[in-house]
Symmetry: C2
Subunit: 225 residues, 2 copies
């Protein structure tokens, strides 16, 4: 019995931006759990996140925000933990407390040590107030990507077996966060050859229907090809 | 019955640095749950986190790391979620899924939008490769603090009542993460007057024995007064 059949009346709206990696995480989690949603694109490049009607939803002016019935949720990792508690099947945090801690630690490497340093507001600060050249901004971006992915590769290695994911035989929160980060790394031409496990896992994930449905180019607000 | 009485034989070691805010979070969580631990100071300023014996524990070369019996844990938020699952009383994530999502979202504002931008490795990159002046580094620091704390103040306000904490009448994960962030803000002379709720909550927390025991100046590796 799916969760949708328990609560078919729940209206679920994701405020998203096709290319932003935090809403991409939430799209993957929703798709893995088979939860349908309405998609509302928020054009960050045009400042739509600062419009009063959006700030009324999320005073931080950030995507993602998720309306799940009466609940209005922000912060991608908090949203995914909520989905995990409300809709536990399939689990994104399987196993016991130690397994879950390892999966969360992997996710936090991307979420706390790469992504915050490379998001739009930081890049704007580097280009604006700090007047950095485009080359220096790219170098900054790649520095934090390479540092973080090297750490993540070393966290994944001890538990990894051929054909598996970051932590075991099914995708977990670690993979949900990894795939958008790898997409960002490719966009900024980061060298991914030092991370063969992450590269293999990323490709394996993207071949799955749930990850494919969440891909930036598949979203309604993506530019037409 | 306390968790200690269930498992009195567990050896618990926290690898920490007195002044660093991520291990400070874990010290508060351990103290709130009444969990004793041995303290091992890692001198980040002298590069002890890159010694082979520490990298064998945490290949990322970061504190905190927590040895909890046979389990070796990294990443402060993953450690605290683990402690919450293994030692649920008192809860740091009380209530239902929506309450927990709101508490986690508050914690993530500090953990993902302030702290990663202001940690030692980032400040070193600004001073080193980017050759920023001390004044420009301070301005960077305060920029992300003020932006993040303003967001957090606005998240806390709708739920706040006089005499309470970030989310309700008991300290939660949100307070565990807030207090070290406020300590950092004071160290860098950030103006805290725009955040009256956070300032009141921070003071209320620090008056509690668990928060006091976790304070930087109370740790074995803190400089003697």
């Amino acid at each position: 019995m799916s969760d949708r059949s328990i609560a078919p009346h729940i209206r679920r709206i994701l405020y998203s931006r096709f290319i932003a990696s935090s809403p991409y995480r939430v799209r993957i989690a929703l798709a893995l759990k088979g939860l349908e949603f309405e998609y509302v694109g928020v054009n960050l490049q045009q400042g739509e996140q600062y419009r009063p009607e959006f700030l009324a939803l999320n005073p931080q002016g950030l995507v993602p925000a998720l309306q799940d019935g009466d609940a209005l949720l922000t912060q991608s990792l908090a949203i995914i933990e909520y989905l995990e508690e409300r809709y536990p099947t399939p689990p994104l945090l399987p196993g016991g407390a130690l397994d879950r801690a390892r999966i969360r630690a992997m996710a936090l490497v991307c979420a706390c040590e790469i992504h915050p340093l490379n998001n739009l507001s930081v890049l704007n600060y580097l280009k604006g107030p700090l007047q950095l050249s485009a080359a220096a901004v790219d170098e900054w971006y790649r520095h934090w990507v390479s540092r973080g992915l090297a750490a993540l590769e070393s966290l994944v290695r001890p538990h990894y077996r051929d054909g598996q994911f970051c932590y075991g035989a099914q995708p977990t929160l670690a993979d949900v966060v990894l795939v958008p980060q790898m997409n960002n790394a490719r966009r900024f031409q980061c060298d991914l050859t030092p991370y063969p496990l992450l590269t293999a896992i990323d490709a394996r994930c993207r071949a799955l229907p749930a990850f494919a449905a969440a891909a930036p180019e598949r979203q309604p607000d993506a530019p037409r090809a």
